[in-house]
């Protein structure tokens, strides 16, 4: 069902956790759908220097969370904002069609966290 990469990121998810006093926090999804992802960012000079996540969801949701955080780590926020759910799924060697919405969750959570950061910086 799942690619080896998905199983690897599910079994050994990267960047799990919280960041105290994060510069940006994004949370998307809800328990009703069975998927919630929360992302914490530490940002210096618009560069994402640290990222952590927590996810309630299926293996695909956890693996895409892990992969998405890997992809944005060290990137400028402008670049991070261009990362699509397709790119996340591709980086995992694909997802079953029925699970593609999980990768959207990761994209959205990261966007939400960056927006939260931008809003805070504007305050």
């Amino acid at each position: 069902m799942y690619s080896e990469k998905v199983m690897d990121h599910f079994m050994h998810p990267r960047n799990v956790g919280e960041i105290e006093n994060a510069d940006g926090i994004g949370e998307v999804g809800n328990a009703k759908c069975g998927d919630i992802m929360k992302v914490y960012l530490t940002i210096e000079d618009d560069i994402i220097v640290d990222v952590k996540f927590k996810t309630f969801g299926c293996a695909a949701a956890i693996a895409t969370s892990s992969m998405a955080t890997e992809l944005v780590k060290g990137k400028h926020i402008d670049e991070a904002l261009t990362i699509t759910n397709k790119a996340v799924a591709q980086a995992l060697d694909g997802l079953p069609p029925i699970k593609m919405h999980c990768s959207a969750l990761a994209e959205q959570a990261i966007k939400a966290a960056i927006e939260d950061y931008l809003q805070k910086s504007n305050d």
């Binding site: 599910f10 799990v16 328990a31 759908c33 069975g34 919630i36 309630f56 293996a59 956890i62």
Partner: protein, 394 residues
Amino acid sequence: MSERFIYFDHAATTPVRPEVLEAMLPYFDKKYGNASSIYSIARESRAAVDEAREMVANAIGAKSDEIYFTSGGTEADNWAIKGIARGSADKGKHIITTSIEHHAVLHTCQYLEKEGFDVTYLPVDEKGLISPAQVEEAIREDTILISVMFANNEIGTIQPIEEIGEIAKRHGIVFHTDAVQAVGNIHIDVKKLGVDLLSMSAHKFYGPKGVGALYIRKGTKLASYIHGGAQERGKRASTENVPGIVGMGRAIEIATQNMDSYNKKLLELREMTIDKVLATIPYTRLNGDRDKRLPGNVNFSFEFIEGESLLLLLDMAGIGASSGSACTSGSLDPSHVLLAIGLPHGIAHGSLRLTFGKDNTREDVEYLLEVLPGIVERLRRMSPLYERVKNREE
């Protein structure tokens, strides 16, 4: 990946017993005759089918000419419900069933709704039980069928079928029960139950997949569903699946013989699992009735985590289990049964069904009890929902 594999998903399917497979084997390549033909090997096929029919009948207290073989429990459910619906259109268009039926019943009823039938889906209480009084209240002038499952495939709850049967009979309404999870697992006697139609499936009691049966009480008028040749006394066409039918017969015979000792063991495993899991894993609830449940079934909800992740981690630890019905895995919605007993969506997503079987041991359960708490904790630590609770607690 673990070396051992412990199977705790006997409600999804069971392995074919060695004795059953042995009984089936000659009918694949040696006694391969078409049971409807006339020559020697064909007559052997016919005799084997008749013998299997007798075994199935004996196991549920029926006569052998009340048993019709099908391709499984789903076909039996489709046949019973659509057959009565189509044959009773002049009498009425109202069907009574429950909100926790298997999809084979539920989707069939939903299909009939599109055709203009009116279906009442009785709600269940928080244990998953319906009461005979509920059924009686739902009966209308135009009610043509009551269909209530014998035992639920997810939470194992056993319904008061005998009492509902009495009500159905009193009102002269045909009564069907989906007994796929019950037949071969607990004692059933159709003479006592007052059911007119009863569905079964061989692979739930160590028989082969792809074969089941419908019990049709003598005198019950039921239109055919699969039209064609004259097999099954003209009621269900298609070349008889002789090895499958032979396997079903042998499997139900053995299941009936072993039932009491089998269930004693399953009950022990069940009680041990329930007690220990509830004691060691916080934020956990047992779904379904504690006593009116199948001997081999436990079903938990672990808050803050999701079922698929749980199943995959259990699989990595060498344990095969299920989260809701196996049939629903194609869907993204949480189990309709867990929602029907009142679980919020989030908690319904985090359910685990363990169904024990003949080869499971206390050691298997002990191993489960060893690994399960850690797996649940691991997923919870990744969960933003758990984080909130923890923060609140602190």
